[in-house]
Symmetry: C2
Subunit: 177 residues, 2 copies
DNA sequence: CGACGTGGAGAACGTGCGTTCTCCGCTACT
DNA sequence: AGTAGCGGAGAACGCACGTTCTCCACGTCG
């Protein structure tokens, strides 16, 4: 197994475990076990846990936004499709809310790289919505609805928070035209 | 110092520290130091850290909702006043987002009492909004906006997320009439 | 065939922290 | 005054975990 495959397996394992149980609850040993990569190699690829966490967040950001973008694009870039995608996400087994919000909660004073990754994700999502909705104020409003629905779906376990947010978004978008 | 005063000082210290730095980042020793209560007494009042965390959350829930209720009530129970209160909160020094969302992120699988306290808080806030807004669907929409604004204000550090949510709420409430 | 280097398995180390234990001084009652 | 019990200060214990070290098997080159 070469170094790039090791990195890949490590990130895969890290994402599964960190998202499911929280970063702090998962030890490096668990990542090693799940990935099948030796500890030595692990520390060659990621000199410290923080580096692994940061890479996990960056990768999750790319994938998460990619999935959203593809789904919405296939529906003509209709802003309301965002909420349909959310509902799918909320319904997935193992859904545990937004990895970035959870990480923010986990670290009182995050390492700089981690804080940056969290902020970057939110900035990118906001920018994406701004590309989808002409009026920037309405885009920000939808963003707030997206975040609220995600948090509430995670805590209450009810995927229908997506429908509530969608209804609100519909009204806000109609007010726009 | 009797037992009730000790409990009070412990909860006060716990709230300051847990909210500011996160629950996991604060050791029992820090709570002891800040409260001035001995470790022995601490463990008499709260047999385990989880008990202290649960009590912290329950107490914070009461105070948080009390503050919101009073503020909004003084403004004629206008639902939009909720967002004015939010903006004040976001602007406070030391604001670090919603303690309950943060705790949710911190514990992958929370102890039952802690999970219950988190859910209770959100249920109570939702119920409060339902009392403020005639249409339950719109109340839920405002709830989503409140949570979204809180999360975003915490991560971006920008209190104006409250204004964005307020604008959206205004539109949603107007559509109601 | 033999020396060397690479990589894996897992022990070991240091630290932090939740929890408990020990010791000591003080107070209150006889 | 003497003693029994309460409370405080802080040491001690056990464990978990991030990180490093040791040892060994294996493949490669001279």
């Amino acid at each position: 197994m070469d170094s790039v495959e090791a990195t890949d397996r490590l990130l895969e394992a890290a994402e599964d475990l960190f998202y499911a149980h929280g970063v702090q609850a998962v030890g490096m040993d668990a990542v090693r076990e799940r990935s099948g990569v030796s500890l030595k190699r692990l520390y060659q690829c990621f000199p410290a846990k923080n580096d692994l966490v940061e890479a996990y967040l960056l990768r999750r950001d790319e994938r998460w936004r990619g999935s959203l973008r593809d789904f919405v694009h296939a529906r003509g870039d209709d802003p309301l499709a965002v909420f349909a995608w959310l509902k799918n996400w909320f319904t997935e087994p193992g859904f545990r809310g937004c990895a970035f919000i959870n990480s923010f909660g986990e670290f009182g004073e995050p390492a700089p790289g981690i804080a940056a990754a969290i902020r970057k994700h939110k900035d990118e999502v906001r920018a994406y919505l701004h590309g989808l909705v002409p009026d920037p104020r309405v885009a920000d409003q939808l963003f707030s609805l997206v975040e609220g629905a995600t948090v509430l779906a995670a805590i209450t376990g009810d995927p229908c928070e997506a429908d509530t947010a969608r209804e609100a978004a519909k009204v806000l978008l109609k007010a726009l035209v």
